[in-house]
Amino acid sequence: MFLALRDLLFARGRFTLMATVIVMVALMMVLLTGLSSGLVDRNISGIRALPITHLAFEYDDKPTWSNSMVERAMWEGWAGQDGVIAATPLGNTMFNARTSGGEPVTLALWGMEPGSFIDPGADIGRPIGDDPYGVVVSRMLVSDNDVAIGDTIVLDRVLTELKVVGLLDAHDNIAHTPIVYAPFRLWAEASYGPPGGPPEGESLPDILYDFATVVALKLEETTEIAAIDEELFTVALDKPMSFVASTGYKAERDSVRINQGFLLVIATLIIGAFFSIWTIQRTGEIGLIKALGASTGYLVRDALAQASLLLAVAVSIGVGIGYALGDLIVERTDIPYVIDINAMLISGSLVIGGGLVGAIVAVRTIARIAPIIALGQLR
């Protein structure tokens, strides 16, 4: 580091410029990571919050939340198998609706058996179950639409009236839509029943309550999932895989990853180009130091130490600024953004790694510089 540090100080103008570029790249990586986590959160936070190990979808090559429909035989079938700790139906239907104030909202109505292992309860107010029309709503619906306990939300088209009895602190969403937790029967009636509910004095046929979207499962590790799937004509996905079944999740995640990939390639190329030019500018000096007896290894180690130091400092600054900016975004805006320290550190490490690859490619030229150039006449 003897030469490296002194070069950094001596050519501080050039290195500051380069460091600024690296800071920006690291900053963009961190912001993209926060945004991607935010998007993911809006898409699957409701699924993530479920205390499940697996979800069983109706059998399909590519099972999705929007296409899956499971029947009673499936969830009762799962419940009776060895290694199944719990199995319960979960219904998911998207509705347009209006709040008490007349505001239009889009919501995901989730139907579940009150008191089942996936029932989230309520942080404020009462959980679902006491009132057949009572629902618990997630924080996002409350903060965006001024919904409060006691309000009524009317579902468009079917005209079902949902009574808000409880609130959850979490921002539970699926496919960017806030979740409204409802008793299973209410969900089934709203999803499959006639508009306005059953005619007065009549009840709806029992078959209406024999369908759901997925089976929520809590399984032991040894459960023979494939065999049960085959028997019941379902496909059980573990929790992370079930995210992919949510509309848009994969596309969102992949587009952000492509951006991050490009940023990494750009970082690698910029840093490689910088150190290539820097090495070429130092050709005379490197020849001289070799003539004085320095080995190529000494000079390469020194150059890489310089690149590492530059990268570490610049990336730390970029990640630091990214953290502060992320905090502002979360505090002051509605942009979906999640501060994830681990993801930020991984992003920073990736920029350092990419930069080092660029630097390693660049400083290989040191090996080709001949010490003879120190004797000017033979140049």
């Binding site: 003897f2 030469l3 002194r6 070799k290 004085l292 007896g293 003879i372 004797l375």
Partner: protein, 233 residues
Amino acid sequence: MTLAIDSVSLVLGDGDQRVTALNDVSLAVKAGELCAVMGPSGAGKSSLLAVCGGLLKPTAGRITIEGEDMTTLKENERARLRRERVGFIFQQSNLVAALTAMDQLLLMSHINARKPDRSARNRAARLLEEVGLKHRAGHRPHQMSGGERQRVGIARALMTEPSVLLVDEPTSMLDHGRGREVVGLLAKQTREHGVATLMVTHDQAMLPWADQVAEIEDGVLAAPAVQQSRGRA
């Protein structure tokens, strides 16, 4: 003999571009002796320094430094020999732009994979004092005159206690007065540090300091003449 050059030839280039830079050159320099090699541009002076320092491998012949045959060594072994036993002084001084005078000397310890300890710092300070640059220890090359830079080059070459000093046109960028000053210093350091110094120059005025003078032309070295009047120019 500290530096022995024995029937060395060097052919550069290929095919039509082949040039015989050195043709059967023999020369010996003892410890404490300054040998000047004179000749016009392109006579083979720098080639001679390059093969003595292991920067080029001679086509034929042998070069030994304190008995170690340099011509049989691989490139990294030649680099090792250079940093341990050879001091190079280049024309235009060739200092590292980012380093202060003191750091130019301490770099030599680093190259030898040794962190400069107190004794290295003391030696560097003493050498800078010997070349009259104690007050310039914290200055970078662009803050020094040509003569001062060349004197830093001399101090740097002596930093590793070499047995051989190879000096390339030390006065080419200096006016006459400063040139005399630098060569006088070089002769004094050669004696005091007991090194074998091989200096190539085209400057006749620098010859009185040399113990022996050899003329080179078209790669052929004439037998050196021994001088008695060293240091009295």
